[in-house]
């Protein structure tokens, strides 16, 4: 009985050693992957910062104003002024599609009958 126990425990130790060996290398590989990913994240963050700076630079008010002036023929953009505020009375009331059909049944039928 005792020799069987010895052999079994020896085999168990060998198996555990093999497992620990593999875990060790797997962990190191994962750490390498993590640091590679972190480097990648850092690089992407940096390029994001550059993109944001570039976006801000391209959208600076001076440049936009110049572009508006250059493209005035096509776009006709003007500065916002108080006159551009309208009153509700200036907006025509949209016809109710359902109600419109009801008061003009001929038009509706014309559409239905080709």
């Amino acid at each position: 009985m005792r020799p069987v126990l010895y052999v079994a425990s020896f085999l168990a130790v060998m198996a555990l050693a093999f497992w620990a060996y593999r875990e060790n290398y797997a962990t190191q590989q994962l750490l390498k992957d993590v640091s590679a990913l972190n480097r990648q994240i850092g690089g992407l963050r940096e390029s994001l910062a550059i993109q944001r700076a570039e976006w801000a630079y391209l959208n600076r008010p001076d440049r936009l104003r110049e572009l508006v002036n250059v493209n005035f023929d096509r776009l006709g953009l003007l500065a916002m002024t108080p006159e551009q505020f309208g009153t509700p009375e200036q907006v025509t009331y949209p016809p109710d599609p359902l109600f419109g059909m009801m008061i003009d049944p001929n038009a509706a039928q014309d559409e239905l009958i080709p």
Partner: protein, 593 residues
């Protein structure tokens, strides 16, 4: 285990036979047994102690060895740290109230040299001079060959320049990474942002430190690694750009040498726009002037540092103080006959007018010096000082700029009655446009004190009450009548109910007295008058309006039209709907009713 009986029968019998006490045999055996037990447990305890000692020894040895390796080894970043808890090494960005970038960082490289590793110093010097014209080849070569082992060449390189230096191909030229502060909007809000420079520099990094403006005032916050989120200012970039554009045009049209504008939210005290002209590019901050008046430098922030006599804009404070003390009402009649003689001083009106008897509201409408002086004399020096102090006109403004604490208002040290008189209409005492904005905001905010800030605040301030709500309401109404009937008629912007007060102050001559033809024109306005929300201060330095043969230098002709244009352009951006004019009464209906 063989256990020895305590009373072995053979020995007992033997003892009895000899007439001895058999109990002594039992005691003897008991003693022996106890000794054996004691020896055994001692041996076991000793073994245990030894084991424990060994365990402790091993544990402490392992910990000590680990500490030793940690202390003597190279520091290493933890590789398995969780994301999201990272500390930012960058200086925080500065954004406007809507999150648009005002200042950010850009990765760039600095160029340095190890001359001892250089293969051909002469060629490197010539090549570098070709790339960077400001460098001198001879100086470079001399410094490359004088035996030093390290030298800086340039602090910032663009990627193209870096590639060109790479192409020189000398192993003695090296690059160190740098964070460069970038202000993508150029001149916009230059005085607020200030600028930045490099602090301690190393090969691998350099610290970026604020040099002026909010960059310096909030330096600790911006550099704090625990606060990587951007710093949100109260400034709105669109408004700032519009105000600066209109102000620059106005300054040019009015032939002024400088101008400043402050636009403030009266509920929160947030400065939505603050412009000072001439300005500069914070990416390339100019050197301060070494000679002449520092106030002429583009670095000078007129809105905060420019401490001027603000003239008649102060009159409303005198009248508000008198109304709050219950001395007058808007309808009280004031004697405004000129001149008011006080000792050897004669107080007169602009263009030697004489308004005679007038109501308090008319004193403000006409901008009557004599009327204001009479009201101030009723108030008295002490109460006048207390009121001005409560409006914050005696202390530096609390805005978050490094220049602000230095811009202390110039207040007369003694306060005889003549100072009471002159201060009542804004002469003899100087304050900055930012002070004026805060004081007008306090009136517009229903009399609750407003402290200006450049940081986004969002919640209304809950300051101390400076004057009653009724006084504040009446003051705003008087300011409104200045625009509808008085000196600031050009400020009328249809739909926005502008209320305000003009101020024209002669510029003091450093040699004493005042310049005859140099003025500082100010227009302090509040809009819309029925529910004041914003305060706008416009100051023009030495303006002159020359469309007529006689040049005009009063604020009503210079600062007022510029302010009106700023309000016309900014109010829609602020989301203010123009208030529709009262409809014409229908005569038919009126008759029928």
């Amino acid at each position: 285990m063989i256990r020895t009986p305590l009373r072995p029968l053979a020995r007992i019998l033997e003892a009895r036979r000899r007439g001895e006490n058999p109990d002594s045999i039992e005691r003897e055996n008991l003693r022996l047994r106890h000794e054996a037990m004691r020896d055994k447990s001692r041996a076991r305890a000793e073994t245990r102690l030894l084991c424990l000692g060994l365990a402790f020894f091993t544990a402490f040895t392992v910990i000590g060895a680990r500490m030793g390796t940690l202390a003597s080894g190279q520091p290493m970043e933890p590789r398995s740290a969780l994301a999201g808890t990272e500390i930012s090494a960058n200086r925080a960005d500065i954004v406007d109230r809507n999150g648009r970038i005002l200042a950010t960082n850009l990765r760039t490289y600095a160029l340095y040299a190890h001359p001892k590793d250089m293969i051909d110093p002469a060629r490197v010097a010539v090549e570098l001079e070709k790339l960077f014209p400001e460098l001198d080849a001879e100086t470079l070569e001399r410094r490359f060959t004088d035996g030093r082992s390290f030298m800086w060449i340039r602090r910032k390189l663009s990627p193209e320049q870096m590639q060109a230096v790479h192409d020189i191909g000398d192993p003695g030229l090296l690059f160190g990474p740098r964070e460069m502060r970038l202000y993508p909007n150029g001149h916009l809000a230059a005085h607020i942002l200030g600028g930045s420079t490099f602090g301690a520099e190393g090969v691998h990094s350099a610290e970026v430190i604020g040099m002026a403006g909010i960059e310096k005032a909030q330096d600790d916050r911006l550099r704090d690694p625990g606060h990587p989120e951007p710093l949100a200012l109260s400034i709105d970039m669109t408004l700032q750009s519009t105000v600066t554009e209109v102000l620059a045009t106005g300054m040019q049209m009015m032939n002024a040498k400088g101008a400043a504008a402050v636009l403030m939210d009266v509920k929160t005290g947030e400065v939505l726009s603050m412009a000072s002209l001439p300005d500069f590019d914070p990416n390339d901050r100019p050197q301060p002037l070494l000679t002449g008046d520092p106030g002429d430098s583009p670095l000078f922030n007129r809105a905060v540092q420019g401490v001027y006599e603000l003239g008649s804009t102060f009159k409303i404070f005198t009248v508000a103080a008198a109304m709050d003390l219950g001395l007058v009402t808007p309808d009280t009649i004031i004697d405004g006959k000129t001149p008011l003689v006080w000792g050897r001083f004669r107080i007169k009106e602009f263009q030697n007018k004489n308004y005679g008897m007038q109501t308090v509201a008319e004193v403000i409408e006409h901008s009557s010096n004599v009327g204001t002086a009479r009201i101030a004399l009723q108030i008295g020096a002490l109460r006048q000082q207390a009121f001005l102090r409560s409006l914050g006109l005696f202390d530096p403004t609390p805005v978050e700029l490094v220049e602000a604490p230095g811009a202390r208002p110039l207040v007369p040290t003694k306060w005889p009655e003549i100072v009471t008189i002159t201060t009542s209409y804004g002469h003899g005492m100087s304050a900055s446009p930012m002070h004026l904005a805060a004081a007008y905001a306090t009136i517009a905010n229903g009399g609750v004190k407003v402290e200006p800030t450049l940081l986004r605040r969002d919640v209304p301030v809950n300051g101390p009450r400076v004057m009653s709500e009724e006084t504040a309401r009446n003051s705003v109404d008087m300011l409104r009548s200045v625009v509808t009937k008085g000196t600031a008629s050009l400020a009328e912007v249809p739909g926005y109910e502008v209320a305000g007060k003009t101020g024209t102050a002669d510029k003091p001559n450093p040699q004493g007295g005042y310049y005859p033809d140099k003025v500082v024109n100010t227009f302090a306005s509040v809009f819309p008058a029925s529910d004041p929300q914003y305060v706008l201060i416009v100051t023009l330095d030495e303006p002159v309006e020359t469309t007529l043969p006689t040049p005009r230098r009063t604020a009503g002709w210079t600062a007022v039209p510029v302010s009106a244009e700023i309000i016309r352009r900014t109010a829609p951006l602020l989301g203010l709907r123009p208030i529709a004019p009262e409809p014409e009464p229908d005569h038919l209906l009126a008759v029928r009713n």
